[in-house]
């Protein structure tokens, strides 16, 4: 009994920490609809700044409070700057583009933090009062954890007061419900958004600063916290503070008991909880169906097949790609092979994201399933490369259909997060089922058959399969299927009224996207010679998103342009120093310059030019 109580208290302390991180994220999303990937970076900055302040202050409790608040304030200022300099300029851009900008921010902060604070983990020497424990049923419980248990609800209370008892809060709630109406009534949205972003960033900083006494400020904090913060926000219901608090409680307490009962569950527990909650309650515990921000729908002009000029351009590019082995060196060829794989990977995500209107944060799952299917065909069954390449899209597609049955009922960020949950579960299976998958040591020796072993042949094969696959997907999007799919995206109600089965269309699109990604994964496996769980980890899913957004969601050429430019940029920058900050700044610059993606901007420029021509 006493042990259970102690674990409960431990869970509550964990819940408070989770809530502090998630609160800022949910506030920001609620008002600005920005999926802020850099929230973890702000959390990390909060911890580092707190270390810089607190290691110079006396060790009494009042100075500790002062230092933590100072760190939160500093992070809030950084958040406000991020909003003013970057995000403000792209609110009119297609949905999720801000995600790309914040992804750039993540990369920049990683290098900046390394440069300022160095590579060593920085821990704060804890004064006696921070080290102490209180006796609970004869067992020791850290005093600081008790403090955290109190801080969570206090922060929740203060935020609720702020939102319900001040004019500013009233405006924020109004903007959460209908941001265009608030603007129409003469409220300066820019001030509102900046202040909300600063508040959210400040909360992240507060979370980071409060986590410092429990461990250290280190360069891994950003990515270790971001996924769980998203899970809490989504389980609670996006934009709902009380929901986030409940979700944090649920996850914190389950975690405390879960690892005592099933120690190996640590990798997936939170994602299992999220999947379970979302399958039962598609909008989270306290979430409401997301009010569609007006203006988003009308912005989407139908995609037309490319005109003759673009056809010629595409053909020239294809011919150049086919001839590449005659002028490209072996390294460039391996980059191009990866680019071909990326084209199909991005194009398959685009089927869901563009015409399907379903963004996925877990697209790497299907890529990974395809890669493992190829690996098993090669190593387990002893079948040849052809069998592996054939098996992969079916395996990935079948699994995608299975998962899709749950996922496609949802929309927006909830759908994206449910795909993330399933991808994490798949990743954990690959990671922990060591006997079959080799765990994180992966499957080695998945090299191509002798006939395709030399670089040019492998490249041509990749080109054939991946560009061919992308063309098949493109064909599907210009078939009645594609148009029907787009109809369900733009107006599910009207689409149903004319007799389209929205659920089935989206479901098939999901399966198709999965199969495409699976094929690209199989090609990748043979190009690299090995398969690892990292192929289906979150960063790889983010890569796919970045490619599609960089190229432009609402054009057919977008994913292709995005995939090629991202692959080439990444592999080129990786050869030099400080590649993260360079890539991050470049992505931010591209987002600012081409809010509709590179291909989107090019096609707009083309239209303008043609419009002026006689």
């Amino acid at each position: 009994m006493d042990l259970i109580f102690l674990q409960l208290l431990t869970g509550l302390a964990g819940a408070s920490t989770l809530f502090l991180v998630a609160a800022g994220l949910t506030v920001i999303f609620g008002v600005t609809r920005v999926v802020n990937f850099s929230h973890g970076s702000l959390y990390m900055l909060g911890a580092f700044i707190a270390w810089s302040i607190l290691s110079r202050l006396p060790r009494e409790p009042e100075y500790f409070v002062l230092g933590v608040l100072g760190a939160a304030l500093a992070t809030a200022v950084i958040g406000a700057l991020l909003e003013v300099l970057l995000l403000r300029r792209i609110y009119r851009a297609p949905e999720l583009l801000q995600l790309l900008a914040t992804f750039g921010m993540v990369l920049v902060v990683q290098d900046v933090a390394l440069w300022i604070w160095g590579p060593v983990d920085l821990s704060l020497s804890r004064p006696r009062w921070l080290r102490g424990a209180v006796e609970v049923f004869g067992l020791r419980f850290p005093f600081y954890d008790l403090v955290l248990i109190v801080v969570g609800p206090v922060v929740l209370g203060l935020l609720l007061l702020l939102f319900h008892r001040t004019r500013w809060g009233l405006l924020v709630r109004a903007a959460t419900q209908d941001r265009d109406m608030v603007a129409a009534l003469g409220v300066d949205q820019r001030v509102l958004f900046t202040s909300v972003f600063a508040l959210g960033a400040g909360l992240a900083g507060l979370g980071g600063a409060l986590a410092l006494p429990q461990g250290s400020a280190n360069l891994h904090m950003d990515l270790s916290v971001i996924a769980e913060a998203f899970v809490v926000v989504v389980v609670g219901g996006m934009g709902s503070l009380t929901g986030a608090f409940l979700a944090a409680l649920l996850i914190g307490v389950l975690q405390a008991f879960g690892i005592a009962l099933v120690p190996k569950i640590t990798l997936v527990l939170v994602f299992l909880v999220m999947a379970a909650v979302l399958v039962v309650r598609p909008h989270g515990l306290l979430g409401k169906p997301q009010a569609m921000a007006r203006g988003e729908v009308e912005a989407l002009a139908p995609i037309r097949p490319a005109g003759p000029a673009l056809h010629v351009l595409g053909l020239v590019a294809l011919v150049l790609a086919i001839l590449a082995p005659f002028f490209a060196g072996p390294y460039l060829l391996s980059v191009l092979t990866e680019a071909a794989v990326a084209v199909l990977f991005a194009a398959s995500l685009h089927v869901m994201m563009g015409p399907g209107g379903m963004a996925s944060f877990g697209h790497a799952a299907w890529f990974g399933v395809g890669a493992y299917a190829a690996a098993f065909a090669a190593k387990g069954l002893g079948a040849g490369m052809a069998a592996g390449l054939l098996l992969a899209p079916f395996a990935a597609g079948a699994l995608a259909l299975l998962v899709g049955a749950f996922v496609v009922r949802m929309s927006g960020v909830y759908l994206a997060m449910l795909t993330l949950a399933f991808a994490q579960i798949a990743w954990a299976v690959a990671f922990q089922w060591v006997e079959v998958t080799g765990g994180d040591n992966g499957v080695l020796g998945v090299w191509p058959d002798a006939w395709a072993a030399d670089k040019p042949t492998l490249y041509w094969l990749a080109l054939l399969l991946c560009v061919g696959g992308a063309l098949v997907l493109r064909r599907a999007l210009f078939a009645p299927f594609g148009f029907a799919l787009r109809a369900t995206r733009d107006s599910a109600l009207r689409a149903e009224a004319v007799g389209l089965d929205a659920y089935r269309l989206r479901w098939v699109a999901f399966g198709l996207a999965g199969a495409g990604a699976g094929l690209s994964g199989a090609v990748f496996a043979y190009a690299k010679g090995s398969v690892f769980p990292t192929y289906m980890a979150i960063p790889h899913s983010v890569d796919a998103l970045v490619m599609v957004l960089l190229g432009g969601v609402q054009t057919m050429a977008g994913p292709i342009v995005g995939a090629v430019s991202f692959t080439v940029l990444h592999s080129w920058l990786l050869m030099g120093e400080f590649w993260r900050i360079k890539l991050g700044l470049l992505i931010m610059a591209l987002v600012l310059a081409f809010p509709a993606g590179i291909a989107g901007a090019a096609s707009a420029a083309w239209e303008r030019w043609r419009g002026r021509a006689p």
Binding site: L3, A133, A256, A260, N441, G442
Partner: protein, 402 residues
């Protein structure tokens, strides 16, 4: 055969087009080592590691290089992703024309690079990856590994761990291959040396995301006599702080891998628990001439104390230099045979490449943690030679299929 003007021109053009080839043929051209590591993903280890190999390259070249040629290291960041390491390895072989490949921190990245080396029949010297598979299950003739593996680290500790005479053990280790392999070997070797030992609970925190409070509470609940720890880095700091406050480590022996390494001990600061049995490097208290010379040279160049990573980086270069010198050539097949048995100096003293499995015999220090003047350090330490922490040759043969 008479040369026509046209052939001469063509030959000239080919020479211009392939300057790297020409450089490689001249005997005074440097020996090129391609190096790949997780510089951005694991900076706490790899930044000191880079400084270590930079120092070694400088020293080797100042002493006249190897086979009369200078050493040159071309280094890249793999961002912690095996697929990037594979591509970069290709670039180093094909474009940069390196003579051999080195590096690696994460086990999966190391294995991916090793697999490329096997496929392309080129030499790969793994510096840091600790997985046993690298030289055993997945071992092959072209892959050498410098650092003591998970098996060796555990074997070095077991000898002293048995002396605790503890019966009920719990384990806590990160939930990935490294952590799983540590616990597997620890259980196996302890049961071999101390029949009747019990493992009553285990915790598997996700790497970098330990829920320290709950982990400590769950371990305490099992009422163990002793604890085996495999966590390191940020997870370790969190674990130690919760454990200290909750009294988990009081009157309980703790056996902990890597904890004595400066990069992991330093963040523990004034909360370093006393009396843990650890592997690491007592950088402040080693007094032998070899260590002192290394530390002095390192501090003179970089103005800070070396870390474990610095030692690994430094020894990687000296081990390669010695291997090449013994092979008498940088031709891959000559090196694949010639490295075997080559003896090389390291900051920890002389070591060699084992002939039976290409494992380096670089050891590590085993000692107890202590708190001196608000800082953690290692005391009562001894140097555990890698050569004596190996399974029998018979066992190695069974595990290594080649």
């Amino acid at each position: 055969m008479a040369f026509s003007r046209r052939t001469l021109l063509a030959a000239g053009a080919a020479t211009l087009a392939a300057p790297a080839l020409v450089r490689a043929q001249s005997t005074s051209a440097p020996i090129r080592i391609g190096e790949i590591n997780s510089y951005t993903a694991i900076p706490a280890f790899t930044v000191p590691y880079r400084m270590g190999w930079q120092l070694a390259v400088e020293q080797v070249n100042a002493a006249g290089g190897v086979l009369g040629r200078r050493l040159e290291v071309i280094s890249h960041d793999d961002a912690g992703r095996p697929q990037d390491a594979v591509r970069l390895a290709g670039a180093l072989f094909d474009e940069t024309k390196v003579d051999l490949l080195a590096g690696g921190f994460l086990s999966n990245v190391g294995l991916a690079m090793s697999d490329v080396a096997r496929q392309r029949k080129r030499l790969f010297v793994a510096s840091e990856p600790l997985t046993d598979a690298l030289v055993w299950e997945q071992g092959h003739r072209y892959c050498y590994r410098l650092r003591p593996s998970t098996y060796m680290q555990v074997a070095m500790l077991v000898e002293d761990a048995v002396k605790f005479g503890a019966k009920r053990w719990v384990t806590v280790s990160p939930n990935y291959e490294y952590g799983q392999s540590l616990v597997k070997w620890f259980k196996l070797l302890m049961q071999r040396h101390q029949p009747g030992i019990e493992f009553v609970a285990e915790q598997w925190p996700a790497l970098g995301r330990i829920d320290a409070g709950a982990t400590v509470a769950a371990l305490a609940q099992a009422r163990p006599d002793a604890i085996f720890n495999g966590t390191f880095g940020p997870d370790l700091t969190n674990f130690v702080r919760q454990g200290n406050t909750r009294g988990l480590f009081e009157r309980r022996p703790v056996v902990s891998v890597l904890t004595g390494e400066p990069e992991y001990l330093e963040p523990l600061g004034d909360e370093t628990p006393e009396g843990w049995l650890v592997t690491g490097w007592p950088v402040e208290s080693v007094t032998d001439a070899t260590s002192q010379a290394f530390i002095a040279a390192y501090r003179a160049k970089f103005g800070e104390m070396p870390k474990m990573g610095s030692v690994v980086g430094h020894a990687t270069i000296t081990a390669i230099a010695a291997g090449i010198a013994k092979s008498g050539s940088v031709e891959t097949e000559a090196m694949a045979d010639g490295f075997k048995g080559a003896r090389f100096p390291t900051p920890f003293g002389e070591a060699y490449w084992r002939a039976q499995d290409n494992q380096g015999t670089l050891g590590t220090y085993v000692g107890r943690t202590a708190l001196r003047g608000g800082k953690g350090m290692m005391v009562d330490w001894r140097y555990a030679d890698g050569a004596s922490a190996m399974p029998t040759d018979e066992e190695v043969r069974r595990m290594r299929p080649v």
